[in-house]
Symmetry: C3
Subunit: 349 residues, 3 copies
């Protein structure tokens, strides 16, 4: 393989051409079937988890271990000091270390850094304390500041705006399950959920299908538009490959003839910072916006995808998740192979 | 070695014949003296610690490191989402991910999973919030659900009912210290403790001696019977090897002529879920039910065993713990060698 | 290299002769430029972090990984039980495990243990709950008890009295940046800070310069004397190498002609346990006691050092930290190379 990936950050999949991402996916699928290997002995990936994780944590640590290296996982503010990312601040309050020091120091010791910092993620029924607007949160200031001062590749493990590792895994899953996905119908459907979840994952899932030139349908109730910047980019990228992106509120029409249905809940961008209001406003959506067997029956024997974790019988029924159409476990396993391919290409060996 | 252990779960030592456990112990003791090695390069053991740990965590992580592999330790609900293990639940409350996804996903990435989930374990003087009966808790629903959906061996790192890794380590210690333990007198004695501790460890300690065909005496005050299912199984297994299990409340008689004394506190099964009541009810037991030098003097120069951690001068006196009869450090070190043997046999290499 | 370091504890740099520390620094600098390697396959370093960390955690874990071994990081009381280090205690309160068991058990499994236990360290603006005097805290009872019962080398990752790993890294940085530092002027300056920080780091920084035979100036306001035992030891060690240690309150004179300025805040030893009172008492010091460009301009083109984390525009201005004189990132990177050299020498390979 060429050196085209070596040393680059992986902050947003929009920084990579669809063909570059597809190449990474092919490396991943070759690694999965044992046709390609990587070797990163003595190399270290530091992981900063501001939020909880299962797949991201296990896949990143396992990837490094299988490549012969190691991972160091830290929870900022618990294992470490509190960090500041804004310039010019008089740091006499809660923040103890500035990213201007943190980033070059950590990256003088390790070979790459993964960062999960998504302000809307909470464990259990804990509420988020975010009061910022989406316009503010989508700047993802911490990870961008970290990357700016970093000596090594920085990987986005999910920010407010994007989850590019999910992008890679979903691309791999679509290629694996559908053969050549180009031109096939893919539906990304919103679902009701008790909390207001981030748009990072649906952004990246939409882009995964778009970057394969699929016929992408975004299905959600009025008021739940994804970020127009991301929808626009996805549309442009899909069209270059002969696909398209359309948005609809029509559940029945959307599922019809789909080859792949990806279900995901996300919070309304208008309600960011006013999440309690959203809970009340979306109450009536619950009964309709769950993926069930009758909806899946309208597809063309389509596969069911979900990034996980999935709240059973809330976002999707047991019947769908436990059916043969569900590929969620394979999709999650592909998180491992795609991040392994990515690490191999970004940090070498 | 044959492949008889490959791929099996290690949830409860009752799932293994005494001879199978003895074989694992022999492997462990050969590894301890450098006569046998294992090799698990690039293999990963995930560890889910719902509760605190010292020996289990350090021994499991060290075992994988010495075998050339790696461990990933996670605290559910802190590092990860909250998990659900009951079927058919509408997951609109605190739980975010079902074991039906969690287990196959994690075990699609790693080679084995260890789980410590024991509802009565707390750190310091923190009270447990359990309100279930022992009959409910002994089902150990989470680990059994996890094993049901797992693609790889699952190890019990202590549940409500059993602590099979302690079983292996105690067997190894008895073999190491007593030569052939068959027929020799072993006492498992209850001790007073400010909290109501789980019965998992005494169950497994009783079974360790029973599976060696020892003459096992269970000593405790009235009302502190261990689970009859476990006492029954231990009795049957001991008898098959020429040993026996007897229960007594007579402290003086129990210690007499013992070759090994294992001290452990546990909560009364009747008081599960009503722990505050037990504190009052057991007050009078404190002065008698501590292991001290005078009790140990009645033994036949018996060794003193404890699973650790031990509250000094509460469960056992400084004099006993600091005496030459105490083998608690060797017993703990055997946690390492036995889990290393187990991992070698379960996941190969 | 000889075996002079093998198996020793690294609790306080005063336990090592200046020449021994200088030799370790030379090993570190050779490793940094690739002229020397270490090899610790299958070896394990356990890390007990009672307090938060960035550089110490990442450097220790990375060092072991690069040497082919592994690290296990635990937070006592969160990942583990609560520990007791006093002898003869009736452990019926919050502590569950005594160091008399903990230490030999853990060190029967691993090859070395690092311990950070410094009672004044807190995350963010959290207040410390310490009520002990400095005279009591400087005993560092936990780490000394742990070392007493340990079977393997114990490393101090910062205690109340000393931070010997910072000592090594600062020595390496001074040698790297100043050529032969002997006789050159080094200033250790106090800075205002919202909290009362430990004296461990300034003690070790002062000693780092003293052990190189530098002309050491300790600059602080009245009432902020460092521990006379440490200042005395530093003076004696500096003089043996042709250097000296002087203490001054005169900011202007202190910076003049300095080749190296190391800035650090620390709490007044008189106020230990009465930190709220110190906050009020030191209010007037804030405006003067910050390191800024005008102060640095008085030096002989001196380098700026700080152990990090540094509160920007509180302890030191952006202008100084972002200037070419700042060597803080290199200084932090040297934490990696010096601990790698130390581990190589203490545990071999």
């Amino acid at each position: 393989m060429s050196l085209q990936y070596r040393g680059r950050h992986f902050l947003n999949s929009l920084d990579f051409a669809p063909a570059e991402l597809r190449t990474l996916v092919e490396v991943a699928l070759r690694m999965k079937r044992g046709a390609e290997r990587g070797h990163l002995p003595g190399r270290i990936l530091a992981l900063l988890f501001f939020n909880a994780s299962v797949r991201t944590r296990v896949s990143c640590e396992t990837a490094m271990a299988r490549l012969g290296g190691n991972a160091i996982a830290l929870t900022p503010g618990r294992d470490t000091w509190n960090f500041e990312d804004q310039d010019g601040v008089v740091m006499d309050q809660n923040a103890q270390e500035h990213v201007r020091e943190l980033s070059p120091v950590v990256t003088s010791m390790v070979d790459a850094v993964g960062i999960r910092k998504c302000d809307l993620i909470t464990v259990g029924d804990a509420k988020t304390s975010v009061t910022d607007s989406y316009a503010e949160l989508k700047k993802d200031s911490f990870i961008h500041a970290f990357a700016r001062f970093s000596k090594k590749p920085v990987l986005n493990l999910e920010s407010n705006a994007a989850h590019p590792l999910q992008h890679l895994a979903d691309m791999a899953t679509l290629v694996e399950k559908l053969g050549e996905p180009r031109g096939k119908k893919y539906v990304l459907s919103w679902a009701w959920h008790p909390k207001s979840l981030p748009v990072a994952t649906p952004h990246s899932q939409m882009l995964a299908a778009a970057d394969l030139g699929m016929d992408v349908t975004i299905l959600h109730p009025p008021g739940y538009d994804l970020d127009a910047d991301y929808v626009g980019a996805a549309t442009q990228r899909a069209r270059q490959l002969g696909g398209n992106v359309t948005v609809t509120h029509d559940v029945e029409a959307a599922y019809k003839d789909a080859k792949a249905v990806c279900v995901k809940s996300w919070g309304s961008l208008q309600y960011y910072g006013r999440f309690d209001e959203e809970v009340a406003a979306k109450k009536a959506l619950r009964s309709t916006w769950i993926c069930d067997e009758s909806k899946m029956a309208r597809t063309a024997d389509g596969i069911f995808m979900h990034c996980l974790p999935a709240r059973r019988n809330v976002v999707v029924t047991d019947g769908v998740l436990d059916s043969k159409r569900s590929v969620v476990v394979d999709q999650a396993e592909n998180r491992l192979w795609t991040v392994m391919a990515l690490l191999k290409e970004l940090i070498g060996g």
